[in-house]
Amino acid sequence: MRPVPTWKWATLALVVLAVAAAGVPSIRPAGAQGGGTLVVGLDQEPPTLDPHASPSAVTYQIIASVTENLLYRGPDGKLVPWLAESWTVARDGRSVTFKLRRDVKFHDGTPFNADAVKFNFDRIVDPKFKAGGSRAALGSYAGSKVLDEFTLQVLFETPYSPFLNSVASGVLSLVSPKAVRESGDAVHTRPVGTGPFMMKDYVAKDHATMVRFPGYARKAPWSDRTGPARLETVVWKFIPEPGTRVTTLESGETQGIYLVPAQSLPRLEKDPGFRVEKLPWPGVPRIWLLNVTKPPLDDVRVRRAVNFAVDKDAFLATVYRGTGLKAFAPLTAVMLDDPALRQAYPFDPEKAKALLGEAGWAPGADGIRAKAGQRLEIVLNAIEYGGGADPTAQLIQSSLRDVGIDVKIKAQARPPWYEDNYRCATHGPVMFLRSIDPDGLWSLFHSSQVGANFNWSCVKNAKLDGLLADGRREADPAKRRAIYLAAEKLALDEALTVPLVDELAVWAFRAPVQGVKYNFNAYPVLSDATIRR
């Protein structure tokens, strides 16, 4: 055999190199880190930055100081003016009139006025537009009337009280009509707002950059000073792997990260070089929705027994370790807190056993209770994430075994998990929901939402439906609170769910990063943030 001539090898190598060079476009290096640049690592990339199209929280984490709303809601939950100077709710609850600020321009110079706001809301309900969370936030929106250049009346088919809270939430933040009309798809990566920061560039799967808007001459509602943001630039890096994310914070590659994994939390909390900030999420806590239509959970005594039997402290001690608080009700404590809710179901296995006995389930030979030859079995629907089922499912399993209930975990991929929930096929899933208004309970419990939205308890209860409808109509905050408190008490009394853990939004920053503030949604607003040298 003849050796292969050198020129053949050389030619082959050249061809490989040429093909490679042709296929590889030049890639820009990541932006240099100047003095005024804050780099924050997020756990995921947003599907879009268009506030009206996104179904995802990560969008609003990024744009919370880019696009602004008519009203603002801080961590105390109070509504204050933002782009609107004042607002009036009509007596019949079917319209809200906003007086707008006159000194606002979008980042592209487009004037901010009643026409611009109308354009934004009409865009969301346009059947040709695929809205994210924004569509539900507008409820029974019937259109907007421009009364004069800076006065807008927003109309509804039926009274829709959650609107005031929605209008202060990122989903109804406002973008430049001109930019939407003229830039086409660019709104997905560079929404043009009015806030202290403006989006500069977006590199898919890598980072998004926003820079200070020099023309910002107002006082942001979370700030006590007037004028543009202090930081020059904020870079949001997408770092899905939690271990890598923490390492970038420790090495200084990022100065802040979101979603600190529980196992790294003690280390960061002990180290004076870092500061951990934990914020309660508004909405529905991590919760087990009990399917009330499927035996044995069609018996309220069994459902109550399950509530007494689940050891929530074990969840906090093993899985959450400082990233969550005990949950008591279908809404998180920051939404609605009341001693009556907290006392509903203390951990009491003896009471659970007594209730099960009362329901006719007698202890069996293998430790599992039985009735008329039937074992007490419950199928918990869980998402298989690749590394096994949700750890909360296993904790539920071991808690309930102690009182004689055999929990089977149906661990499966997300699509069939959803399908089982819509069909009420299992004894219910563990889930959570972000919502800024107690009206979030509507999608969880209203009878119209079985098979359609998140009513995976499959409950149809006329009294509960009535309360949820009242909550949508009632404009007075105190009366609304009473209505939703009654709804929560009813849900607890009927034991429609097992509230497990109020999860916290956990951020960590290097110590020199100061002045990060958060809105009610637990999203950071950054115009006062600085990096101390």
């Binding site: 050796p3 809205a131 994210g132 539900a136 699509p415 399908e419």
Partner: protein, 307 residues
């Protein structure tokens, strides 16, 4: 040579047909209504669900759907991503550069590390050098790339601070992912080079070259190594597929943009068109690269096309 190339290209057609069929059936193999699953994250009206079904042509007979899928794919139209609402082809184009660069760099690591290791092991057969080189190769095969990735980040980013842990782009961002990804291929190539080299060193023509009085280095490089590397070319092609699969993990660990993360993101977001389009593209790329490798193989070793 031309006939051989033609034959190889013709043989690709049924393979690609099978690939399109497999990718297309994905939508029907997942339990449940695909449209409801895809839109589960969004608040939707029945109208929007119907609109989506029409947009994806799910209301047509399956055969027609498949025909449309293949015809569109041939024209380079892979559909529109549900999550980002951009054409899948554009998403792929945006990410291919980064993954291509990573694959190339890790292949360079694989060859640059694997060939010398294998060569050293073969020349010092049964010596401590051989044992050491093969232990390194064994470690390379045994270490999962995500673990090696974390180890590299731990040492070079956190403790030494030499290299950035995340991001795409220039050389410093490329080094650790390329090593993490190329290590397994390097180990396989090292073992292959060793055995292939040992075989060639026993051949008559090597003995003849030595008998002619050629020096040791010249015999090894010009006569032995050049022929010993021929099987390595084939492995190169096969390993390329593994590199694409490994990119899914390595790109996630190092937060690098690329096709791997595109696919993972698509799967998590239940974005069927994106997953279908990207998987089809990667499968086709894999098939074509293997054709190129086969042709290159025939080019350097004439016995292939004769046989």
């Amino acid at each position: 040579m031309l006939t051989y190339v033609g034959r190889r290209i013709l043989a690709v057609v049924p393979v690609l047909f099978g690939v399109t069929l497999a990718v297309f059936s994905m939508l029907f193999l997942v339990p449940g209504d695909p449209v409801k699953i895809m839109l589960a994250e969004f608040v939707t009206t029945p109208d929007q669900i119907a609109q989506m079904r029409a947009q994806l042509h799910l209301d047509e007979p399956v055969i027609e759907q498949y025909g449309r899928f293949v015809a569109n794919a041939l024209r380079g139209d892979l559909g529109v991503s549900i999550r980002s609402r951009r054409p899948v082809a554009a998403e792929i184009a945006e990410n291919i550069g980064s993954t291509g660069l990573l694959a190339l760099a890790s292949m360079m690591v694989a060859i640059g590390l694997g060939v010398p290791l294998g060569l050293l092991a073969a020349l010092g057969r049964n010596s401590w050098l051989d044992v050491a080189a093969m232990v390194v190769a064994l470690l390379g095969v045994a270490m999962p790339s995500f673990w090696l990735g974390f180890l590299l980040i731990f040492v070079f980013s956190l403790h030494l601070g030499w290299l950035p842990a995340t991001g795409g782009g220039d050389l410093p961002h490329l080094v650790m992912p390329a090593v993490a990804l190329g290590m397994i291929a390097a180990a396989i190539i090292a073992r292959l080079t060793r055995s292939s080299m040992l075989e060639v060193l026993g051949q008559d023509y090597v003995r003849t070259a030595r008998a002619k009085g050629l020096g040791g280095a010249s015999v090894i490089v010009r006569h032995a190594l050049r022929n010993a590397l021929i099987p390595v070319v084939t492995v190169f092609g096969l390993q390329f597929g593994n590199l694409l699969a490994g990119a899914v993990i390595v790109e996630t660990v190092f937060s690098r943009p690329g096709l791997g993360r595109l696919i993972v993101g698509g799967i998590l977001a239940k974005d069927f068109p994106l997953v279908q389009g990207t998987v089809l593209f990667v499968a086709a790329a894999y098939v074509l690269i293997n054709v190129v490798v086969d042709v290159a193989y025939a080019y350097v070793d004439p016995r292939i096309r004769i046989g």
